[in-house]
């Protein structure tokens, strides 16, 4: 049984205008799923459905055996599915880092010692141990977002949903978050990243492309980015390495068709030397 299963989910905010139409997919333990698509494709709505902030109009979302449509299960789901949003400023509740991270475990009613341990764990997972007593106000965007992630990790989720969590960060901040994601996957936490950046999506195990509330494409990064004409039609670009490989190919260089990531491009170029 997959850890998180989305079964034929449809959702609409207003009548007669469906934001999501019959979306189905599943995420296994430790898997990295990237969801890409344009503004208004329903990405963020999908994110909010995953931890029960919104309830599907039809279909079902099942996390570790709990259905998000079940009113009594919503806290069980939120314990398992952590959610990090775009703007770190609007997610931090307390004026001191450790107090903010304690917020989730406090809500669970955990004993003090356990909360302390969880703060240690979460800060270590995002590499911010030295900032325990710091004020978020004085941190950089990337650091603030890492604290926001730590606040969610303190709940020990099995799935981490990043809803465009790197959109407001500079390249340095995006790199920091990417490192945190790698670290979490090693720990077996599944990651669902909703993103605009193809460079982030290319690292995923699986990519979903949403278009006007429907899954337009899905598969491994190689499979998805091989469908260039479909992506073109959806106005989505290849990752930078894919674009460069394409252009080099057009110039007559012998580069394999399935080159999409930086490492693959480097390997292909190396072979040509």
């Amino acid at each position: 049984m997959p850890l998180l299963e989305v079964k034929n989910v449809s959702f609409s905010y207003v009548k007669n205008k469906q934001t999501l139409k019959d979306v189905s997919f599943s995420v296994e333990k430790g898997e990295f799923l990237a969801i890409i698509g344009h503004n208004g494709s329903g990405k963020s709505t999908l994110a909010k459905l995953l931890n029960g902030l919104l309830k599907p109009n039809s279909g079902e979302i099942i996390v570790d055996g709990y259905s998000s449509s079940d009113k009594n299960a919503v806290f069980e789901i939120r314990k398992r599915v952590g959610m990090v949003f775009q703007n770190p400023d609007n997610q931090l509740i307390a004026s001191i880092v450790e107090d903010d991270i304690a917020f989730g475990p406090e809500n669970l009613g955990l004993p003090r010692e356990e909360i302390g341990k969880r703060i240690d764990f979460a800060l270590k997972a995002v590499g911010m141990q030295d900032f325990r007593k710091a004020t978020p106000e004085r941190l950089s965007g990337g650091q603030k977002q890492r604290i926001a992630i730590a606040g969610v990790l303190a709940l020990m989720p099995q799935v981490l949903v990043l809803d465009e969590s790197t959109a407001m960060l500079d390249p340095e901040g995006r790199k920091e978050i990417a490192e945190v994601v790698d670290n979490l996957r090693e720990k077996g936490v599944a990651v669902i990243a909703i993103t605009h950046y193809m460079e982030e999506a290319v690292k995923a195990d699986k990519i979903l492309v949403l278009d006007r509330g429907e899954i337009a494409l899905s598969g491994t990064p190689k499979e998805v980015f091989a469908k260039k004409s479909e992506l073109d039609a959806l106005n989505l670009e290849l990752p930078l390495a894919g674009i460069i490989a394409d252009k080099l190919r057009a110039r007559g260089l012998n580069i394999a068709d399935d080159v999409v990531s930086d490492a693959e491009l480097a390997g292909a170029l190396w072979k040509l030397l």
Binding site: K48, N51, L53, F75, R78, K79, G82, M83, F85, N87, D89, N90, Q91, L92, I93, A94, S95, I96, E98, D99, A102, F103, G104, P105, E106, N107, L108, G109, L110, P111, R112, I115, G116, I119, E137, A148, G151, V152, L155
Partner: protein, 276 residues
């Protein structure tokens, strides 16, 4: 806009800093009561209060300049109150022009009172972080749960407000700059014109605050927030010997002032009566 007094916390490791916020708030209130207990023209009582502040400041390892800075912000208020006393007090004998001796004494009395109270309050905020202060108020309000007062919610609102003050100040600055870049004029014209010029700042600020509140609510929900039910607290406040000493200290001050009021004043009067 920048120098909001909430940033007045002076971090240090001291006896006073490590006291329980609840005790500190109560002591500060008791101190203010003591200042008000000092009876008319009895400046020795004020001296006792001043001594209390000086000793507290030394034990708190806070520079005196910082404590005094708080008086600067209310200097207008102090001068205004004193001037009112000077010019409108008709009691006593006229010293010169319309100023009477009682008026002069009253003015001094009021200055001493306000300054001493502000010194005490600023010492509290200098040695207690806003978060501790909010926790302390929550702790003190806890008995109100009996009358169904939402203590936890109240405390959460306070701490979120504290958390967002710097964020919203930054946002205000950005909006002002953005409007200036679009030709808005905040500097010229009379007070009404300038107040009106602020509308294009306040409306975006209000709208973005609502957006922030919405996102914050989602983030809190996502972190399993369900009100105060079954909630634990990571930070436990503990009363220590320090708090007991502090309470004894302020109690000593109050007793001293009451004593001074009763006996010293009587003996002082009798001395004057004897001399007459």
């Amino acid at each position: 806009m920048r120098d909001v007094s909430f940033g007045s916390y002076f971090p240090a490791k001291s006896f006073v800093h490590s006291m329980d916020a609840r005790a500190k708030i109560l002591i500060a209130i008791a101190y203010m009561v003591a200042v008000f207990l000092v009876s008319a023209f009895h400046f020795l009582g004020f001296a006792a209060c001043l001594l209390f502040v000086i000793i507290s400041t030394i034990t708190a390892k806070v520079p005196f300049g910082l404590v005094l800075k708080s008086v600067k912000t209310i200097i207008f208020f102090v001068v205004f109150s004193a001037v009112l006393q000077l010019f409108f007090n008709r009691k006593g004998t006229v010293l010169f022009w319309i100023i009477t001796d009682v008026g002069l004494l009253n003015a001094g009395f009021i200055i001493a009172r306000i300054v001493l109270i502000v010194l005490g309050a600023s010492l509290l905020t200098l040695t207690t972080s806003p978060v501790e202060l909010a926790d302390g108020i929550e702790g003190l309000l806890l008995p109100l749960k009996w009358i169904k007062f939402p203590v936890h919610e109240f405390a959460l609102i306070m701490s979120i407000a504290l958390r967002f003050i710097p964020t919203l100040i930054g946002e205000t600055d950005r909006i002002i700059k953005a409007q200036k870049a679009r030709g808005a004029d905040f500097e010229s014209g009379n007070i009404f014109k300038r107040a009106k010029a602020l509308i294009p700042v306040l409306i975006p600020l209000l709208i973005s605050s609502f957006r922030r509140a919405d996102e914050l609510a989602d983030a809190m929900d996502s972190r399993c927030y369900a009100g105060s039910k079954n909630r634990t607290k990571y930070k436990k406040m503990r009363l220590t010997y320090r708090d007991l000493l502090g309470v004894l200290f302020v109690a000593g001050l109050i007793v001293g002032i009451v004593f001074l009021n009763k006996f010293y004043l009587l003996s002082g009067l009798s001395v004057i009566a004897g001399a007459l």
